[in-house]
């Protein structure tokens, strides 16, 4: 067996080892722990890159944990897919790569950002556990393990959101996130239980092969859609996001952005690969589109009036999630009609997935720049900032790149994905791109406000001593800035090699089933 065939398992094993080894490394001092943190975050990112390359070259990767074959053959000849299976197609691999890049950037940034705080062994452990949860959700091939990884990610997130436990706001944010996460996880567990009760299997492909729409399946679908839409931060279930994103340390928020995308991944994996055209009506697709529209508009209008930089950015996360809901919702609407899928559905999905990639990179970068400002000024209040471009030029450049990208200014990558979404969703109804464009204008307006108030304007006396953040923090931001610029300058390559294969994998339900089930069971 070629070692690269073990990449799906290695991608989970590396951060898991990073998590449990961190307290041991911490015994040997700060330097050893930091080297451990950096080494394992780099290895995790490399592993996701290799996994993406492997899947791009070889097609869907199936990995059975603890066995050579996915099935358990009974004396009667019947075989059931009961083992723990990792199933990685182009969409899963792209999501893992996005998560890998975000966690690597967050880890580099956190090295100096967190050094003035205590309990960093626990921080590193939770950071890696959150990575394991995120990657597990994206790589698993069965429903129950999806729930398990969702819980791992939730528990680690709660710990990290409330990491500054001497701040009441952080503890409150952690508690709120815990409450909604538990309710959401219970909904997912009930849905898994319903489907297991109906089909005696929990493997995605096995359930998808046998699924037919009945009352129980509809109830399960409702629970999954709502729970994962909440975890993604869609309106009206978005209210935990400004609390959690605002209070978490900046490097963690960068990772939390990618973790929320793992929930979005789960939502679309269930909608496309598990249910697909068997959904019949367009109710779920329209629900996703409407949630997307609400998220875009409510998120951005709430962002415009914020004066706390991280809460402002968190509301923009809600707003940006709306674009992905809109793009992928329109794709879902067209799934049963090959003509509609060809005319606008695939373009909408490409736009949605491209935006997902873009969003994870520039939003992570924005949160890191907010962290850099907080690191030097000690405040998140925009009213108290001003004139920082003179003393923090590198942070300013990073902010300008990310802000231009999120606002969809040409030639930045945010424009390309938004263009694909505007033009394809217009075919469904003209109001859809109108709301999206208004949102984009308001996004630009609110980032102009941030730029003007934090970076431009007269210098404040109390920030006279402020200087640029340490090189490792700049390096963390630079990782994401380079990816944003790469996606900007090479949109054709990105679409052809990363986005298109992911969109095609998502609509190819038969291929997803066949990769595991082959001739059936």
């Amino acid at each position: 067996m070629n070692w690269s065939e073990h990449l799906p398992a290695l991608t989970l094993a590396i951060p898991l080892l990073g998590a449990f080894g961190a307290p041991v490394a911490g015994i040997f001092g700060r330097l050893v722990r930091n080297v451990w943190f950096l080494l394992f975050s780099a290895l995790t990112a490399i592993s996701t890159l290799l996994l993406w390359q492997y899947v791009s070259a070889q097609g869907i990767a199936i990995y059975v944990l603890g066995g050579e074959s996915w099935s358990l053959a009974l004396p009667s000849g019947m075989s059931l897919p009961i083992r723990i299976i990792l199933q990685v197609d182009a969409f899963s691999a792209l999501m893992a790569l996005i998560g890998g890049i975000a966690m690597f950037a967050g880890a580099i940034f956190s090295l100096r950002f967190m050094e003035r705080f205590s309990g960093l062994d626990k921080f590193v452990t939770l950071f890696f556990l959150l990575t394991v949860g995120m990657l597990g959700m994206e790589l698993t091939g069965d429903l129950f393990n999806f729930f398990v990884f969702l819980e791992i990610a939730s528990i680690a997130s709660i710990g990290l959101v409330a990491f500054w436990r001497d701040k009441p706001e952080a503890v409150e944010a952690g508690f709120k996130y815990m409450l909604v996460s538990i309710v959401g996880a219970m909904m997912v567990l009930i849905a898994v239980g319903i489907l297991y009760g109906r089909y005696d299997v929990i493997n995605f492909a096995a359930v998808a092969q046998n699924l037919h729409m009945g009352l129980a399946e509809k109830v399960a679908l409702s629970f999954v859609v709502i729970a994962l839409a909440m975890k993604s931060g869609a309106v009206p279930m978005h209210m935990w996001t400004p609390d959690a994103y605002g209070e978490a340390p900046a490097g963690v928020t960068c990772l939390l952005v990618a973790v929320s995308q793992a929930s979005l991944y789960g939502l679309f994996r269930v909608c496309f690969s598990l249910y697909g055209a068997t959904m019949g009506s367009g109710v779920v697709a329209w629900t996703i589109i409407i949630l997307g529209m609400l998220s875009m508009f409510v998120g951005v209008t709430m962002a415009v009036i914020q004066k706390d930089i991280k809460r402002l950015m968190a509301y923009h996360s809600v707003s940006q999630i709306g674009y992905m809901f809109l793009g992928l919702g329109v794709g879902l609407l067209a799934i049963a009609d090959p003509r509609a899928l060809g005319e606008y559905g695939m373009t909408a999905m490409q736009g949605g997935i491209y935006h997902l990639f873009n969003y994870s990179m520039y939003k992570g970068l924005l949160f890191l720049t907010a962290g850099a400002l907080y690191y030097r000024t000690g405040t998140r209040n925009l009213n108290e900032m001003g004139g920082l471009a003179r003393s923090m030029p590198r942070t300013t450049i990073m902010f300008v790149i990310a802000a231009a990208a999120i606002a969809g200014l040409p030639p930045f990558n945010g424009f390309v994905s938004k263009l694909l979404i505007y033009e394809s969703t217009f075919a469904v109804h003209p109001i859809l791109p109108v709301v999206a464009m208004v949102t984009s204008v308001l996004t630009l307006a609110s980032f102009v406000k941030v730029f003007q108030t934090a970076f431009l304007g007269p210098a404040r006396e109390r920030f006279r001593q402020v200087r640029e953040v340490p090189p490792t923090m700049v390096a963390g931001m630079a990782v994401l800035a380079v990816v944003v610029l790469g996606l900007t300058l090479f949109p054709t390559w990105s679409l052809a090699n990363m986005i298109n294969p992911a969109a095609e994998a998502l609509v190819d339900k038969a291929g997803y089933i066949k990769a595991v089930m082959g001739g059936g069971f």
Binding site: K176, L179, V180, V183, G184, M187, L215, K218, V219, L221, S222, F223, V225, I226, A229, M230, P236, M237, M239, W240, D243, S281, V283, V284, T287, T301, M302, V304, I305, K307, T347, L382, N383, M385, G386, P410, P411, F415, V416, L419, L420, E423, S424, F426, A427, A445, K449, V450, Q452, T453, G457, P458, A459, R460, E461, R462, T488, P491, T492, L495
Partner: protein, 112 residues
């Protein structure tokens, strides 16, 4: 190769835009270069014009705070914002309540 993305309805060509920005910036630098470079540094010619008044030493005294930005926009949408802010209570029970409400509505729509 001149890569272009076709959306099915239009197209996107990043390099044309970059060429456009390079030309635009060259023009901007050209016009900037036409300004007078013979001003006297360190005199009143070099000072900020602040409505004819003395410029305060600390930026805090004359900066426009972020919360004043887009005052007209928020004032015009006061009714909308009042309702929107009322929904954002910050209460954890409300967070869960909205989730259950949405789940109930979706379930009713799917099942019925």
């Amino acid at each position: 190769m001149w890569p272009t993305i076709y959306s099915g309805f239009g197209f996107w060509d990043v390099y044309s835009w970059i060429a456009f920005f390079i030309i635009l910036n060259a023009l901007a630098l050209f016009f900037r270069g036409q300004g007078r470079g013979d001003y006297k540094k360190g005199t009143e010619q070099d000072e900020i014009f602040y409505g004819g008044n003395e410029v305060p030493e600390d930026g805090d005294d004359f900066a426009v705070p972020a919360s004043s930005a887009y005052w007209g926009f928020t004032e015009a949408l006061k009714g909308f914002y009042t309702k929107l802010l009322d929904l954002h209570t910050g209460l954890a029970t409300d967070y869960v309540g909205y989730m259950f409400l949405t789940a109930a509505v979706l379930m009713a729509l799917i099942v019925l």
